[in-house]
C-alpha cells in the first residue's frame, strides 16, 4: 500500500456498514486489498478492476466458480465481469460470516445458473457438476454416470416436475443442509 493511498471517507464507511454484512475492519481490509489490485493508479474508489486482476486474489484463484462469481456480482454494462469496489463489497458481504441463509442461497443459485435464465436446467447442472469434479477431460464423470446423477438430482429437488430447479426449490434443498452456511464463506 503506497503512502498516497486514498482513504475511505467516514460517511461512506458507515453507509457500507448499513448496507452490507461486513464489519468496519472487514470493509477497511477489503479497501486495502482492492487498492492493491488497482495497482499504482490511485483512481477514485468507483473505478473498476478487470476480472483477470480480481482472479489473482488467492481466495479466488483456485475456486472453480471464480468466473461465475465475478459475472454475478459485476454491475458493468459490458458484461465482462469487472468489479467496482462496491461490487467487491457486495461479494464479500454475501460470502461473509454473518450473511443470512437466504442471501447466500440466492447468490449461490445465481452463480450456478450458467446461462442466466433464472432456472437450473439440465445443462446448468451438468456444467455445475463438471466444475465440481474438475475441468479437464480425464476428471469428468462418464456420460452414463452423468445421466444417472442428473436424473437423481432432478428427482430429488424438482418438486413441480418441470425439468428445472427454480429458486424456491433450490432454497428448499439448501435449507436441509446444515453445512452450507459454513462452506459458502470467503474471508479475506
Amino acid at each position: 500500500m503506497g503512502g498516497t493511498a486514498s482513504k475511505l471517507p467516514k460517511e461512506l464507511l458507515s453507509e457500507y456498514q448499513e448496507l452490507t454484512f461486513l464489519t468496519k475492519q472487514e470493509i477497511l481490509l477489503a479497501h486495502k486489498r482492492f487498492s492493491e489490485l488497482q495497482g499504482r493508479e490511485n483512481g477514485p474508489y468507483g473505478s473498476r478492476v478487470s476480472m483477470e486482476k480480481i482472479l489473482t486474489l488467492p481466495e479466488l484463484k483456485s475456486n472453480p466458480f471464480r468466473k461465475r462469481i465475478c459475472h454475478v456480482f459485476s454491475t458493468c454494462d459490458l458484461g465482462d465481469g469487472s468489479l467496482s469496489f462496491e461490487d467487491f463489497l457486495d461479494l464479500l458481504s454475501a460470502f461473509s460470516d454473518s450473511a443470512t441463509l437466504e442471501i447466500k442461497s440466492h447468490y449461490a443459485f445465481r452463480i450456478f445458473d450458467f446461462d442466466d435464465d433464472g432456472t437450473l436446467d439440465a445443462r446448468d447442472l451438468e456444467k455445475l457438476v463438471n466444475c465440481l469434479t474438475g475441468e479437464t477431460d480425464d476428471t469428468r464423470l462418464t456420460a452414463e454416470e452423468m445421466r444417472q446423477l442428473l436424473n437423481n438430482i432432478l428427482e430429488e429437488s424438482d418438486i413441480d416436475k418441470d425439468g428445472t430447479v427454480n429458486l424456491s426449490e433450490f432454497q428448499h434443498v439448501i435449507s436441509r443442509s446444515p453445512d452450507f452456511v459454513s462452506s459458502f464463506k470467503i474471508v479475506l
Partner: protein, 722 residues
C-alpha cells in the same frame, strides 16, 4: 412496488456516481445480442415480499447491488417521519453499533481464531471440527482448574502455611490405630534417576504434595466469624465441577442438535445436497482444490456405484441374503471376542502390576507401573485396525461402516478404562467384601493401599502422562519419518502408502478418552485438570504442526455437523462413567484413615449431613424439603411433561414442513393449469384473427411462458422486439 413508484417520482440528482441510473436504463434497453433466445432473468427487481420498509435490518438482506440498496435506503430515509420515530431508529442504530463493537472486542479473546480458520481453509470442515472440539476442551479444563484452585487449593495452601488449629471431630479410634500410619515422605537425598521416575509415576516426592488427595488436611477452620470447612469444600467443589462440565456440554450439544433435527439427519436428498452445498469456498490453493475435486468425483462415483449395487442387491436370491447375514453375525461375534480378550488382558495386567509394584525398584518398577497404560494403548491401536479390516468383509454401506467403526472404538476405549477401574476397586475393597481377611481393621486393603485415593489418583495421572508421551512419540517417530520417506524416496511402495492422512474420528476419540480419564481422576488428583489444560494446549500446537507438515487432506468426506453431535454424545458417556466412579467412591468406600480431608468419616458423604446439622433451622429445613419426596416427585413429573411437550412440538414442525412441500407442488400444478388455459385462449384468438405475423408473436410468448414458471417474473415488462 415501492421501488417502481420511486422510478416514477421526480428525485433529486444524487451526488455520487449512481449505477442506479444505468441500471434503470438497462431495464428498458434492448437485450444485447446473445446466443440464447431465452429472456434474461431480471435479478435487479426486488423480491415481492420486502414489505416492512421501516426495518433497517432488511436492507442487508435484499439481494441487490449496492447502488440499488442505497436507493432503497434513501427512500426509507425520506419516508421516515422526522419527529416521532427518529429517536427510536437512532436508538436501535446505536444499539446495533454497540453490539458490533462488543463483538469485535470479544473476538480478540477467542483463542486461536486465526489458526483454526487457516486450518479450515486448507483442510476442510472435518479437520476444523476436531480443532474446535479441542479448543472447547481446553477452555473447559482451564475454567475447571480455576474453580478447583479457588475453592480447594488456595484455602489449603493458606491454612497450611498459617498453621491454623483445626477442630478434629472426636471419633472412637480404638482398634484402627494401625490404619493411621501413613508416611510417604521420601528421603531427602535422591539419585537423579529416582527423581525422574518419581516425577513420571507420581510417587516419592510427588506423592505427598498438592497434586494428590493425600496431602489435603481435614481442617475446619473457624476464627473471628470466618469459617471454612475444607472437607465440605472439597466435596462440593468436585460436584460443582462435574455439574459445570455437564452444563457446558449440554449447551454445546443443544446448538448442534437443533441443526441436526431440522435437517432430519441429512441422509435424504443426498445427491442434490451434495452437488449444491458440497463445495467449500474457503479452500485456497491449487493442490487443495484439485484434491477436493478428485474427492468429489470419487464420492459421486462411489455413491452412484452403491446405488447400482443396491438395486442389484435387492434382487439377490434368498440363499445369498442368508449367507450375507450369517457372515455379518459371525463377524460381529469375532469383534466381541476380540474386545473381550482385550478386557481380560487389561484386567490381568492391572492385577499383575499392582501385585508386583512393591517388590521391584528402578526401571523395572516403572515399567510395571505403566503396564496397564501400555496394554490399553496397544489395544486401542490394534483392535480398531482389525475391526476396520473386518468391516471391509461385512459389506455395509460406507456411512454405516463409519458409524459402526466409531461405535466399536468408543466401546473399546471407555470400557477398557472401566475395566482398569474395576480391577483397582477389586483390589482396594477386597472385592467389596469388607469382612475379608485383608480388609478387616480398616475396611480397605490397608497393607497395600495405605492411602488408596492417592493411589487411584496416581493411576489416572500415569494414564494422562502416558497418553501424552505416546502422542508426542508417534509424532516424532512415525509421522515425520513417514513424510520424509514418502517425499524423498519414489518407489512404488512409498507412493502406495502415501502421506499421513489426518483421520478425525480416532483423534477425537483420543480426546474423549483423555477427558474421561481426567474426570475420573480429578477427585483424587485435584491438579489434574490444570495438567490436562497444558497437555491439550501442547496437543494443539503439535497437531497443527504435524497437520501442515506431514498430512494430506482427507480423501474421504466427513459430515461435520452430525458427527459433532456424536462426539459430544460420546463425551457425555465418558462423563457418566466418571460420575458413577465418583458417586461410588464417595458413598460406599471407606476413606483412608491416614490421609486426606475425610480422614475420620465413615464415608466421604458424611461431611454433608454433619455440616447441615450445624446450619440454622430454616436452612436445614429448606434443604431437607428439597431432598424429600414431596418435592422431587412433582419435579420429576413436571420434567417428563416438558419433555413430551417439546418432542410433540418437534414432530408437529416436521409434519408442517411436509404439508408445505405438498402445497408447493399443488400450487405449481395450478399455475401450469392456468398456463395451459392461456395457451388455449391464445390459440382461439389466433384462429379468429388469421394474420400472418401475430401467430409468430403469440407462440413466442407462449413458449416463453412455458419455459419459465417463475413466480418473480415481471409482468409489466414490454415483450422483447424479437
Amino acid at each position: 412496488m415501492e421501488l417502481r413508484e420511486f422510478n416514477n417520482q421526480v428525485h433529486p440528482t444524487p451526488d455520487y456516481p449512481s449505477p442506479y441510473g444505468s441500471q434503470h436504463s438497462l431495464r428498458l434497453r434492448t437485450v444485447p445480442a446473445q446466443e440464447t433466445s431465452a429472456a434474461q432473468f431480471d435479478w435487479a427487481s426486488p423480491p415481492e415480499d420486502a414489505e416492512d420498509s421501516n426495518e433497517p435490518r432488511n436492507l442487508r438482506e435484499l439481494p441487490l447491488h449496492m447502488g440499488l440498496k442505497r436507493a432503497v435506503w434513501q427512500v426509507q430515509q425520506m419516508r421516515t417521519p422526522v419527529v416521532s420515530s427518529s429517536w427510536n431508529i437512532k436508538q436501535s442504530q446505536t444499539f446495533r453499533r454497540f453490539c458490533e463493537v462488543a463483538k469485535y472486542v470479544l473476538s480478540y479473546f477467542v483463542l486461536w481464531k486465526r489458526g483454526i480458520q487457516m486450518i479450515g481453509g486448507h483442510f476442510g470442515g472435518g479437520v476444523q471440527s476436531y480443532f474446535l472440539f479441542l479448543r472447547f476442551l481446553v477452555i473447559l479444563n482451564f475454567l475447571s482448574s480455576l474453580l478447583i484452585a479457588a475453592f480447594v487449593l488456595i484455602p489449603s495452601i493458606v491454612f497450611r502455611s498459617m498453621n491454623f488449629n483445626s477442630t478434629i471431630p472426636t471419633v472412637n479410634l480404638t482398634g484402627v490405630e494401625i490404619c493411621l500410619q501413613y508416611d510417604p515422605k521420601p528421603d531427602t537425598l535422591m539419585v537423579f534417576i529416582t527423581y525422574v521416575l518419581d516425577l513420571i509415576s507420581g510417587t516419592g516426592f510427588m506423592e505427598y504434595s498438592y497434586l494428590f488427595y493425600g496431602y489435603y488436611n481435614n481442617s475446619m477452620v473457624e476464627s473471628d466469624g470466618f469459617s471454612y470447612n475444607i472437607p465440605l469444600a472439597y466435596l462440593l467443589t468436585a460436584s460443582f465441577y462435574f455439574l459445570f462440565c455437564f452444563i457446558c456440554m449440554i449447551i454445546r450439544m443443544g446448538g448442534t442438535s437443533r441443526v441436526a433435527v431440522v435437517t432430519g439427519g441429512g441422509a435424504t436428498g443426498g445427491y442434490s445436497t451434495l452437488v449444491f452445498t458440497g463445495w467449500d469456498h474457503g479452500l485456497q490453493g491449487d493442490r487443495t482444490t484439485n484434491l477436493k475435486q478428485s474427492n468429489f468425483r470419487n464420492r459421486l462415483q462411489v455413491d452412484l456405484e452403491e446405488e447400482r449395487l443396491k438395486k442389484k442387491a435387492a434382487s439377490l436370491t434368498l440363499g445369498q441374503t442368508v449367507s450375507l447375514y450369517a457372515l455379518r453375525v459371525f463377524l460381529n461375534i469375532v469383534v466381541l471376542i476380540l474386545i473381550g480378550a482385550t478386557f481380560y488382558g487389561i484386567a490381568k495386567a492391572t492385577q499383575f502390576s499392582q501385585l508386583k509394584q512393591k517388590e521391584t525398584t528402578g526401571f523395572v518398577a516403572l515399567l510395571l507401573q505403566y503396564l496397564p497404560s501400555m496394554v490399553i494403548t496397544a489395544s486401542n491401536f490394534v483392535v480398531p485396525l482389525l475391526c476396520d479390516k473386518i468391516a471391509l468383509l461385512e459389506k455395509y454401506s460406507p456411512s454405516t461402516t463409519v458409524i459402526l467403526a466409531l461405535l466399536r472404538a468408543v466401546f473399546l476405549r471407555l470400557v477398557s478404562l472401566g475395566v482398569l477401574l474395576y480391577t483397582l476397586w477389586e483390589q482396594i475393597t477386597c472385592e467389596g467384601d469388607i469382612y475379608k481377611e485383608n480388609c478387616i481393621p480398616c475396611n480397605y486393603y490397608y497393607n497395600e493401599y495405605k492411602c488408596w485415593e492417592t493411589r487411584v489418583g496416581q493411576e489416572m495421572y500415569k494414564l494422562t502422562l502416558f497418553d501424552f508421551l505416546i502422542t508426542i512419540a508417534t509424532l516424532i517417530l512415525v509421522e515425520f519419518p513417514r513424510r520424509i520417506v514418502v517425499d524423498h524416496c519414489s518407489c512404488k511402495l512409498t507412493q502406495w502408502v502415501g502421506r499421513q492422512e489426518f483421520l478425525v474420528a480416532p483423534n477425537v476419540l483420543a480426546l474423549v478418552y483423555s477427558q474421561t480419564v481426567v474426570w475420573t481422576g480429578a477427585f483424587f488428583c485435584p491438579l489434574l485438570p490444570f495438567i490436562n489444560t497444558i497437555k491439550f494446549i501442547l496437543f494443539y500446537y503439535c497437531k497443527k504442526i504435524t497437520l501442515f507438515q506431514n498430512c494430506q487432506p482427507a480423501t474421504r468426506n466427513f459430515r461435520s455437523t452430525t458427527s459433532n453431535f456424536f462426539f459430544l454424545l460420546v463425551l457425555v458417556f465418558g462423563w457418566m462413567l466418571a460420575t458413577m466412579v465418583l458417586l461410588y467412591s464417595v458413598t460406599k468406600i471407606h476413606p483412608s484413615y491416614g490421609c486426606g480431608p475425610f480422614r475420620f468419616y465413615p464415608t466421604m458423604w458424611e461431611v454433608v449431613p454433619q455440616a447441615t446439622e450445624m446450619l440454622n433451622n430454616t436452612s436445614a429445613e429448606f434443604l431437607f424439603y428439597i431432598g424429600s419426596q414431596k418435592f422431587s416427585i412433582p419435579l420429576f413429573i413436571f420434567s417428563c411433561v416438558l419433555l413430551c411437550y417439546v418432542s410433540a412440538l418437534t414432530s408437529v414442525h416436521g409434519k408442517s414442513v411436509a404439508l408445505l412441500k405438498s402445497q408447493c407442488k399443488l400450487e405449481q400444478r395450478d399455475k401450469q393449469f392456468l398456463v395451459r388455459q392461456i395457451e388455449e385462449l391464445n390459440a382461439t384468438v389466433q384462429k379468429e384473427q388469421r394474420e400472418p405475423q401475430q401467430p409468430q408473436r403469440g407462440t413466442d410468448t407462449a413458449t416463453r411462458w412455458n419455459q419459465h414458471d417463475n413466480y418473480a417474473f415481471t409482468r409489466d415488462e414490454d415483450p422483447r422486439p424479437y
